[in-house]
């Protein structure tokens, strides 16, 4: 039911860290069990809060990468070198620890099968996380909606969810990649930053009025959204999730 407002207070909850799984060199997925989890929709995120012994607190938002699944919530986190929270989540946190979070939030940037298609997902780096929740939700629901992912990463080793994307491609899901920094020999995908020409080749036509979701660092999202509008896509059909200057 698009746009339904969730009444009631949003409270901080304690999640149990069940598992921590490396995705790429700098990226890990935190598998959490959240006892009071009300369920979520693909594309939503949580706010995570860390508290130190001296009372200092730091709060950040992380997209949920998993499709709805009971009390299980997976966050895929990229370690930022000068970050305050991501180094803790990717290097210190371990199974058995607890993590304080609030959510799910963000009813605006969601997709579920009832929304329909065609769908264009454009992700930059860790911007793929909420888009992956949508892809996984589509697979879990057995939907055959025309969904296309265009994913920009620096190198092949930086592609998050690489194997799973390869496996899920097909039955209406198209995965196209561009590697902006270096490509392996024999690379058949794109080898440059996302631009209007690439989007024109990958995207459903503007006349098909696709639902578009763009996620990643702010400059990436800005460039992609501008290019899509120049190709004739309606601004209202383009939903963006900017991660800020450096990323999630």
């Amino acid at each position: 039911m698009e746009g339904a407002a969730l009444l009631g207070r949003l409270t901080w909850q304690l999640a149990d860290v069940v598992d921590i799984v490396p995705e790429t060199a700098g990226v890990k997925t935190l598998a959490l069990d959240v006892p009071e989890w009300p369920g979520h929709r693909a594309g939503q995120h949580v706010d995570v809060r860390l508290t130190a012994e001296d009372g200092y607190q730091a709060e950040r938002s992380y997209s949920i990468g998993s499709a709805p699944n009971g009390t299980r919530v997976e966050l895929t986190v990229e370690r930022l070198d000068d970050g305050e929270v991501s180094p803790y989540l990717t290097e210190e946190l371990r199974p058995g620890d607890r993590l304080e979070l609030r959510g799910p939030v963000g009813g605006y940037f969601v997709w579920e099968p009832a929304v329909g298609g065609p769908v264009l997902l454009v992700g930059g780096g860790s911007g793929v996380v909420p888009l992956m929740a949508m892809i996984r939700e589509r697979a879990a629901a057995g939907s055959d909606v025309d969904m296309r992912l265009l994913l920009s990463s620096r190198t092949l080793d930086d592609v998050i969810y690489r194997d799973e994307l390869e496996r899920l491609a097909g039955s209406g899901l198209t995965v196209t990649q561009t590697l902006t920094r270096s490509q392996p020999t024999g690379w058949a995908g794109y080898a440059r930053r996302v631009d209007a020409e690439m989007l024109a080749e990958v995207s459903p036509g503007a006349e098909d009025r696709p639902h578009v979701y763009v996620c990643g660092p702010t400059p990436f999202v800005e460039a992609v959204a501008t290019a899509l509008v120049s190709l004739g896509h309606e601004p209202d059909r383009i939903k963006t999730e900017r991660f800020g200057p450096t990323g999630g």
Binding site: G55, D97, R98
Partner: protein
């Protein structure tokens, strides 16, 4: 606050605790906070004015401003969002220099900036060697994201009382709460008394 995240600690630089106001945490980086898009005003477009309750308003172009006597100051700054940065080095013109010879019965002032930001202060809080209009940070021209071409520097109060992208100081008979003072932040903002919000 009962839950503590196991093993979470800040990279905390050594700091003399007497220099850190209550509830603040010292940082070595320089977080950028902004209420809106970064203005990009060129020196040619820039001017600074003293106006309002004065017999004669005065203003300076960039070149005129740069010709005024300036000084290098090293101060600690405290942001209401809890970070403090010690020993920051700036160069600029003392507000006392800018107000020299200005005849006014005003006791209040409002700093106003490109982009529409305002913050209010008693005149007594920007005079007597307490405030500067600065255009260099750490020996380099002040960058737009940190408030350049010039910003106000009033280090004895929380840093929201030091307007970025400053264009003028309006002298007033009445106190006029500014951008944040009208929406929950304390009218005065003394970090040593932890005057962060209304009612503190």
């Amino acid at each position: 606050m009962s839950f503590v995240s196991r093993g979470f600690r800040r990279r905390r630089p050594d700091a003399d605790p007497s220099r850190v106001p209550p509830g603040q945490y010292v940082t070595t980086d320089y977080p950028v906070l902004s209420a809106g898009p970064t203005p990009h005003t060129s020196p040619e477009e820039w001017s600074f004015a003293i106006d309002g309750e004065v017999a004669e308003a005065r203003s300076w172009t960039w070149d005129e401003f740069r010709a005024l006597p300036s000084e290098e100051v090293t101060v600690d700054i405290h942001c209401v969002t809890k970070w403090s940065k010690l020993d920051t080095v700036w160069r600029g013109v003392s507000v006392d220099t800018l107000l020299d010879g200005v005849d006014t019965s005003a006791e209040h002032s409002t700093q106003y900036s490109d982009g529409g930001y305002t913050t209010n202060l008693p005149l007594a809080d920007v005079t007597g060697g307490k405030a500067w209009v600065v255009y260099e940070y750490d020996g380099e021209p002040l960058e737009p994201e940190h408030g350049g071409p010039a910003r106000m520097l009033v280090p004895h109060l929380y840093f929201w009382k030091s307007a970025k992208w400053i264009r003028g100081l309006r002298l007033q008979l009445e106190d006029e709460p500014g951008f944040w003072e009208t929406n929950g932040y304390n009218n005065h903002g003394d970090p040593w008394k932890e005057q962060r919000y209304w009612g503190d």
